[in-house]
């Protein structure tokens, strides 16, 4: 399977990448990592790329890493649409203090607009 994982630079992004890399390693998927631009994120785009490189190297998984400019949701969906991807993987939301699952605007945009199957990682 040809998998695209989209990352914004949050802790959820790191968890999402980790799980996706493990899965890629186990089943031999083709993986592309897209890092979008979200200025308010915990990690900058460069830091996220560096962390992704490390994670991939540690797991001995080969993947192309791309950086996408512009609105995160639309850049990700657009990139997924241009490529031959079977699945787009993104983080599955955060938990409120109460434990409620909260999905952000990027997730909503991706779910409503992506032509590919979308996987939310929890």
């Amino acid at each position: 399977m040809n998998v695209l994982v989209g990352l914004v630079g949050s802790d959820e992004s790191v968890k999402t990448l980790r799980q996706t890399v493990d899965r890629t390693h186990d089943v031999g998927d083709d993986l592309t990592v897209a890092v979008v631009e979200k200025p308010e994120s915990k990690r900058s785009q460069e830091e996220m790329v560096e962390q992704a490189e490390e994670l991939l190297a540690d797991a001995d998984v080969e993947a192309e890493i791309v950086t996408l400019e512009g609105d995160p949701g639309s850049a990700l969906v657009d990139y997924a649409e241009q490529g031959e991807f079977d699945q787009l993987v993104i983080g599955g939301g955060t938990l409120s203090p109460m434990g409620k699952i909260q999905l952000g605007p990027i997730t909503e945009f991706v779910l409503l607009n992506a032509p590919t199957t979308v996987k939310l990682v929890r």
Partner: protein, 187 residues
């Protein structure tokens, strides 16, 4: 993420303080109580959530299965503020506030912190006015102990719940996405 949400300019109140006993629209005597120690009633509350119809879950809570329910309540129990509704000896409604802070032990002034609200009423007791009363008593109790800022999220399409929150004075403060965020400033 304390202090990051917008709140209405005008405070709302006063709200009634528990304990109160009131008749619901079905003529049942419902008692609203703020337990001194949530641990004392946690067993009764777990029982209510075990009975709770999972089709009414919202954003993943309450969890299902007694162990997961107990685990969820115990995780938030210590620092949460609770009001429960009893019919006879059974808990049939539960409303709570959970502090939005990474270090609940360090809370000095409850007014400095934002509190997330959630409320659940057992299916057989819905549409009888209990939710509104329970919410009002939770806000009354919150105000009594110095809480000022309360927020919540509700699924955007859940119009009955949004109408209930608006009725007691919550205002919409932003639509992140699937969830509508609402907030109230207490007197």
């Amino acid at each position: 993420m304390a202090g990051t949400r917008p709140y209405p300019d005008e405070p709302v109140g006063p709200f009634p303080s528990p304990p109160t006993t009131d008749e619901d629209r079905e003529g049942r005597a419902i008692e609203f109580v703020a337990p001194d120690d949530f641990e004392d009633v946690i067993g009764d509350v777990v029982e209510m959530y075990v009975q709770f119809d999972p089709t009414d879950r919202a954003q993943g809570i309450p969890p299902t299965g007694e162990d997961r329910i107990r685990n969820w309540l115990e995780t938030i129990a210590e620092e949460s503020v609770n009001v429960v509704a009893y019919h006879d000896d059974d808990v049939i409604g539960h409303a709570m506030l959970v502090p939005d802070t990474s270090d609940p032990a360090a809370i000095e002034d409850k007014g400095d912190i934002e509190w997330e609200l959630a409320i659940f009423v057992l299916q057989d007791y819905q549409r009888a006015g209990i939710g509104t009363k329970l919410l009002e008593h939770l806000l009354g109790h919150a105000s009594d102990i110095g809480i000022e800022r309360v927020w919540l999220t509700v699924e955007r399409w859940n119009n009955p719940a949004i109408a209930l929150y608006e009725r007691v004075g919550f205002e919409s403060t932003g639509t992140e996405s699937f969830e509508q965020e609402m907030a109230i400033l207490l007197e």
